[in-house]
Every structure is written in C-alpha cells, then in structure tokens.
C-alpha cells in the first residue's frame, strides 16, 4: 500500500509537472518535449503489435510517414482545421493499413517482419516516384497549424500544441490500456503466448491479428499526423527503415508489453540522442556511445527501463512487507 501510495504520488507529480512544464521551459525544450511525446505515442502504437501480440514489425515507419503525409497534404490542400485533420489522418492511415494487415498477417515471425519492412520501403520509394504529389526528396514544407473549429487558435502556439499532444497521448494511452485489459486484449495475450492453442479454443486468431495491426497503424499514423504540423514539413525519411529501427529501439529500451514503457523509451531515446550529439567532447562518436547504452539496456535490463522500475518497486514492496516482521519483537516488547 505504501509503494502504491508512492506510485500514485509519482504519477500525479509527473502529470502535474507535464502540465506545468512548458511554462517553465525555453521554447526549444518545449519543442523537444513535444517531439518526445509524439515519439512516445509512436512507440506505444508499435507496442500493441510487439508487446501484446508478438508481431515484430520492421516497417512501422510506414504508419508514421502515412500519418505525416496525410496530415500535411490535408492541411495544405484543403481549408480544414488542424484539430479535424489530425484524427482524419489517423483514420486514413488505418484504412490504408487494412490491405497491409491482410497481406502481412498471412505469415508470422520473420516473414511478417520482412513484409512490414517491404511495405514501408514501398512507400519510401513511392514518395520519390510521385514527386508532384509528395514533393519527392524535398518533401512537403510550409505546413501550417490551421486554427479552428469555432475559432479555437490556442493549439497553434508552441505551448498550446504541447498540450494538444499531451492530451492526445493520455487519451490514446487510456484507450490502449482498456483495450489490452479487455476480453479482446486477453485473446491477444493468448495469441502471444500460444497461437495454436488460442485457435483451438475457437478464436479466429488471424482476424484478431489484423485488427491489432490496423489499430497499431492508426495510432502510429496519429503520431505522424501530430509530427507534421510540429516540424512544419514532412520528408521521405519518415518512411525510411531507419525510422522503423528507431521506434523498435524505443520499445525495447522502454519495455515491451507495458504501453507506458515505450512512451518512456521514446522520450529517453530522443533526449539521449539530442544531448549526446550536443556534447562537444564526443562529437562524431556519439552514435557509438548511444549504441553502447542500448547494448547495456539489453544486457542488464532486458525488460526495459519500465521493467527495471517495476522490479525496483517490487523489491521495495517486499522490503516493506518484511520490515514489520523484523520489527515484530520490538513491537511485542
């Protein structure tokens, strides 16, 4: 109970700090923080596939890029407010993901991973092919945060946009948390642990896998849709395999199958990359240090940072329980 109380206090303090933070920080840190939250959402979407269904995707950048380009094109081509464009872009990504899910879920394991990678690279190549539409290698620049509806312009500002991303992240987290805790989520857990057994129990496991892939793409698309108005542009790199690798690292660093872990992983990844690359004494060696940290996490915290925190909390809980027992003689006396 003590540990639970502490945990609630920590979460409440983090939420309060989250809501108050942009007012205390300089602009560039607000932007980094906003991007960290977007990365967190992106990583959490992949966790639905990796952590809860054991569907290792090597091409989740496709979702991010699709969301970003959909958001960019809608904002530039139509007079639609950003608050409407963002969910629209997520829905578009989900719709595009349906045939991808249908094809990819025909296989499992490494074949599934390679198929997802192939789709992401297909989109990457397409961006270069359809230059009139996508801007080719130049990407799409000058994406504005269009105000409205009802004249709402608060989210156009740097701080307002941070709050928008934070609210969307919290709502997405609550949705995903409910989803994985629901009977639907229990079937996903069954697929993760033993798909054959789950199928034997009468569940159409492929249908479940397809649904989770579409949902993961939709949330990944939501993250991309939030990124484009933040950066002001969308470029082909968003589809590139490097982006897929990055989000995979975020999930692993944070802790797969936890939802909150990948959010943490996204933030840690961005801040580490940013701060290490800014250190003058390491200069061009920073990717080496970054890689070493990643290896250390894999070796010493295979459950990720959130897993590390949870095991620490568990040890403390055990300590709290055992302490009164050791104090018992004194109490008796």
């Amino acid at each position: 109970m003590r540990a639970r109380g502490l945990f609630i206090l920590v979460i409440a303090a983090a939420a309060a700090a989250g809501f108050g933070m942009p007012h205390l920080l300089p602009g560039y840190l607000v932007n980094i923080l906003t991007e960290a939250l977007i990365f967190g959402l992106f990583a959490m979407s992949l966790d639905l596939m990796i952590g809860y269904t054991r569907l290792e995707s090597f091409g989740h950048a496709a979702a991010y890029g699709l969301g970003a380009y959909a958001s960019a094109l809608l904002l530039l081509s139509f007079d639609i407010p950003m608050l409407i464009v963002i969910p629209m872009a997520a829905i578009i990504t989900g719709v595009v993901a349906m045939p991808i899910a249908w094809v990819c879920t025909r296989s499992t394991g490494i074949s599934f991973a390679m198929l997802t990678l192939a789709f992401a690279q297909l989109f990457y190549a397409s961006v270069y092919q359809f230059k009139d539409f996508s801007g080719g290698s130049d990407g799409i620049a000058g994406i504005a945060r269009r105000a409205g509806p009802f004249g709402i312009d608060f989210f156009q500002t740097k701080i307002g946009y941070f709050y928008l991303v934070l609210i969307i992240l919290i709502l997405s987290f609550l949705f995903c948390r409910s989803l994985v805790a629901s009977p639907f989520g229990q079937v996903l857990a069954g697929i993760r642990e033993n798909e054959v057994k789950t199928r034997t129990l009468g569940y159409n496991t492929r249908a479940y896998r397809m649904v989770i892939v579409v949902l993961a793409y939709a949330f990944g698309g939501l993250a991309g849709a939030l990124y484009a108005p933040l950066a002001g542009f969308a470029s082909p790199e968003l589809f590139f395999w490097r982006m897929s690798g990055m989000v995979l690292i975020m999930v692993i660093i944070g802790g797969r199958g936890t939802l909150v872990g990948p959010i943490l992983g996204g933030a840690v990844f961005l801040f580490l990359e940013h701060e290490l690359s800014a250190l003058p004494m390491v200069r061009e060696l920073w990717p080496l240090i970054f890689g070493s940290i990643f290896i250390a996490v894999i070796l010493f915290a295979p459950q990720g940072l959130w897993g590390l925190f949870r095991s620490w909390r568990e040890k403390r809980r055990i300590g709290v329980v055992s302490k009164p027992q050791s104090d018992a003689p004194h109490a008796a006396s």
Binding site: R2, G5, G27, I32, G136, S137, D138, F233, S277, E284
Partner: protein, 423 residues
C-alpha cells in the same frame, strides 16, 4: 458480527495511516524545496537574451555524423581557423567571436531542432555552415520566429533565392547549383560532343544541378540523352555506371557529393568509365580527386572554390590553412565557408552591429573582396554574385591539381534576379 464493522474501520484506518505515515514532514519539506527549485527554474532556463557585449556567437548547425560528415568537418575546421585568426587580431567590433557546433546529421528534422537550440539555448542569432539544401529549406521558414540571420556557405538549390522559398533573413554567399552548371556549360560550348548523360543525387541540390545543366546545354544546341537520379545515401553505383556506359553519350555530368561522390568515383574507376567518356562535374572537390586516383587527370568541372586561384586573399588563406593543417589542402567547402564568414564580418562592420535586423540591411548590395575576387550580395534576391570558375584536373609533381582553365565574370555566371535561369 457486531465487531465486524469496527474491525474493518480499524483495518482501513491502519492502511490510510500507513500511507500517510510515509508522507513525513521531512518529505513535505524536501518536496517543497523541489517545487521551489522548479518554479525558480525560469531564471536560468529561459531564453538567452541577445547580449550586445561578450563574444559574438555564431551557430554552425552542420553535419557531424552521416553521409555528408566530411563536408561538415571542413566547415568546422575552417570556422575554427577563422575564429583564431579573428580573435588573434582583436575580434570584430571589439568583440571576440565564438562558434557553437550542433550535429544535424543531414536530417531536416534534426536541423530544425538543433538550430532552434543554438538560437534559444546558446544565443546564436547568426548561423551558417548548413550543409544540405533540404535542411536549409526546413530552417528558412523559422528564421523570422527565431530572429536569426542565416548566411549560406554551400546550399546549392537554386530555388532558395527565388520568391518560392526566399525569406528576408536568408542570404547566399556561395555559388548555387545553376551557377556551377552554367559555368561548365559555357565551357563546353566548344566541345565537339553533342550528347551527354547526367547522374545526380535525387534531392534538392542534385535535381537543381542536373536541371540547370540540361537547360544550359540545350541553349548551346546540345542535349542530355538521359538523367539518372540516384537515391540519397546510395553506396552502390554499379548498375548506374553500366547504364551510363551503355547510353551512347559522349560525356557524363556528375552531380554527387560527400560519400556518394566518393563511392561513385571509386566504382567509376573500377569500371573504367573515365576512359570511356570524359567526366564533368558541377563541383570538383579534393575528395573526388583522391577517390579517382590517377584517373582524376582530365576531370573537368565547375568549381565553387579552387585553392589554386591566384588572388592575394586566397594565397593568404591557403597559407594560414596549410599552417594550421599540415599536409592538407583547402577543399571547396573550406573556401566557401571562409567566404561566407568574410561576407558576414563585412556586413557587421558596415552595420556596426551584430544584430540580425541591422545585418539584413547591411548585407544587401554589399561588395566584398573575397578569396575568389569581388563578390556582391544582390539586394533583389540575396544571392551572392560569384565568378564562374572551371577547373581541369592535371597531374602535378605532388599529385593531381585542379588547374583553373576559365573564369567567367560574376555577371555572366549569376542567374537573373530571383530566378534559376540566365538571360
């Protein structure tokens, strides 16, 4: 049963008590101190004010890691050289200069993030050293919001100084891609070959360069038989080289940079491409010459800067450079960043200020005698009017040397105002 309820209450009370016992006075106090620290944070976390005293900070959001890292390393080494030269002679406007480097990785998203940090964290309201044109394009719309001046040293995309992308706080001191292609095309006027093939990196600069070369040679009654655009970061050019060799063209125009150029020239040497047809390039760089080895002799190209240029300013620069970096010669990026900084400093002296607003006014129509000769920054589109230099690589006693074979006047080599074309 009677005792059930009170017992439950006692149990519940114990639990609540346990939770709240953990929140001791000491913890409340330490929490209060932490909260106070957070509230007091703005004092040192908030935006760095532009200081009129102290060193003039110049941000270098450049490529330290990634495919264009070599170009970034040239930016840094020459900027540091300039820093020691300027500070050693008393500084600018009585103030020392200081360069702050940030790694953009050649990625537009990181470039925006890092530049914003240079501005807001380090107080650098003057920036230069951006390597990739797409990075420049991502940064330019933010300049007004950041109250920052950006002087390009090497961004080649012709459109950056057209109404499509130009912003008031952006200036280009360097030769653009259309300018490089123009000088080369003019030189090829007397070349008997009529058909060429172009190979270029498929991004803003490469596309701009190939497009300008195509336009320029078509004016001369020649043509491109094909344009081979290769993906950014490509390392394997075998299939592309085969395509070039089978094209039937009499010359190959190359618009590749950094690691891409090195990989292409290395593989071109293996395939004997240079023996089959002459190679022309928009930028002859020292690293290209090194990659080609003995095959470099005969390579003809535009040159944004050649260390062999015979001007007193350039001789002084090369001397200072070779003294600081024994055994090395300045490449085109070294020359262009040196010139961009010379333009910036001349602007500061004219404005008697290092404030971006004052500098915008001072840089417009500024005349500077640079290492390449007389340079003028046009007011109409903020493009630096540079001479058009063409070099041919020849064998020298100490290896291949880029010998200047033609210099076109700045009026001939610079496109029409706000355009990428020449009248």
């Amino acid at each position: 049963m009677k005792n059930d309820k009170p017992t439950a209450k006692v149990e519940s009370g114990k639990k609540i008590d346990r939770v709240f016992r953990t929140v001791t006075r000491r913890k409340v106090l330490s929490g209060g101190i932490a909260a106070t620290a957070v509230l007091a944070a703005p004092a040192f976390l908030h935006k760095t004010a532009k200081a009129a005293t102290g060193p003039i900070k110049i941000g270098l959001p450049t490529v330290v890691t990634g495919g264009y890292a070599e170009l970034g390393s040239h930016v840094i080494r020459t900027s540091k050289l300039v820093e020691s030269m300027v500070n050693g002679s008393g500084g600018i406007l009585g103030r020392q200069i200081e360069f702050v480097v940030a790694d953009t990785q050649g990625n537009p998203a990181a470039a925006v993030r890092k530049t914003q940090e240079l501005v807001e964290r380090h107080g650098c309201h003057l920036i230069t050293g951006v390597v990739v044109s797409s990075e420049a394009r991502a940064i330019m719309p933010k300049l007004k919001e950041w109250d920052t001046l950006f002087v390009s040293h090497g961004n080649g995309d012709g459109r950056l100084t057209t109404p499509q992308f130009l912003v008031p706080n952006f200036f280009r001191a360097n030769v653009s891609a259309p300018m490089g292609a123009r000088a080369l095309a003019l030189y090829l006027k007397d070349d008997p070959a009529k058909e060429y093939i172009a190979i270029g990196s498929d991004y803003a600069w490469g596309q701009s360069s190939v497009k300008a070369f195509d336009e320029q040679i078509s004016i001369l009654g020649k043509k491109l038989v094909d344009k081979v655009m290769t993906p950014v970061g490509n390392k394997d050019y075998a299939t592309y080289i085969t395509k070039v060799m089978r094209s039937g063209a009499k010359g190959c125009y190359v618009a590749l940079q950094g690691d891409e150029a090195r990989a292409f020239y290395t593989q071109a040497t293996q395939y004997g491409l240079a023996e089959k047809m002459p190679l022309y390039t928009e930028i002859v760089s020292q690293s290209n010459i090194k990659a080609l080895g003995k095959s470099a002799a005969g390579l003809v190209g535009g040159s944004r800067y050649a260390y062999t240029q015979d001007t007193p300013q350039n001789k002084a620069f090369v001397q200072a450079f070779t003294k600081a970096h024994p055994g090395q010669l300045p490449d085109w990026t070294d020359g262009e960043i040196y010139q961009a900084l010379a333009v910036l400093f001349a602007g500061m002296k004219k404005a008697n200020s290092a404030e971006p607003d004052a500098l915008v006014e001072a840089l417009e129509d500024l005349e500077v005698t640079s290492i390449k000769g007389a340079i003028k920054i046009r007011k109409c589109d903020h493009q630096g009017m540079n001479p058009g230099i063409v070099v041919k690589v020849v064998d020298g006693p100490n290896g291949a040397v880029p010998e200047i074979v033609k210099i076109y006047s700045r009026e001939v080599a610079t496109p029409d105002c706000g355009k990428t074309t020449f009248s």
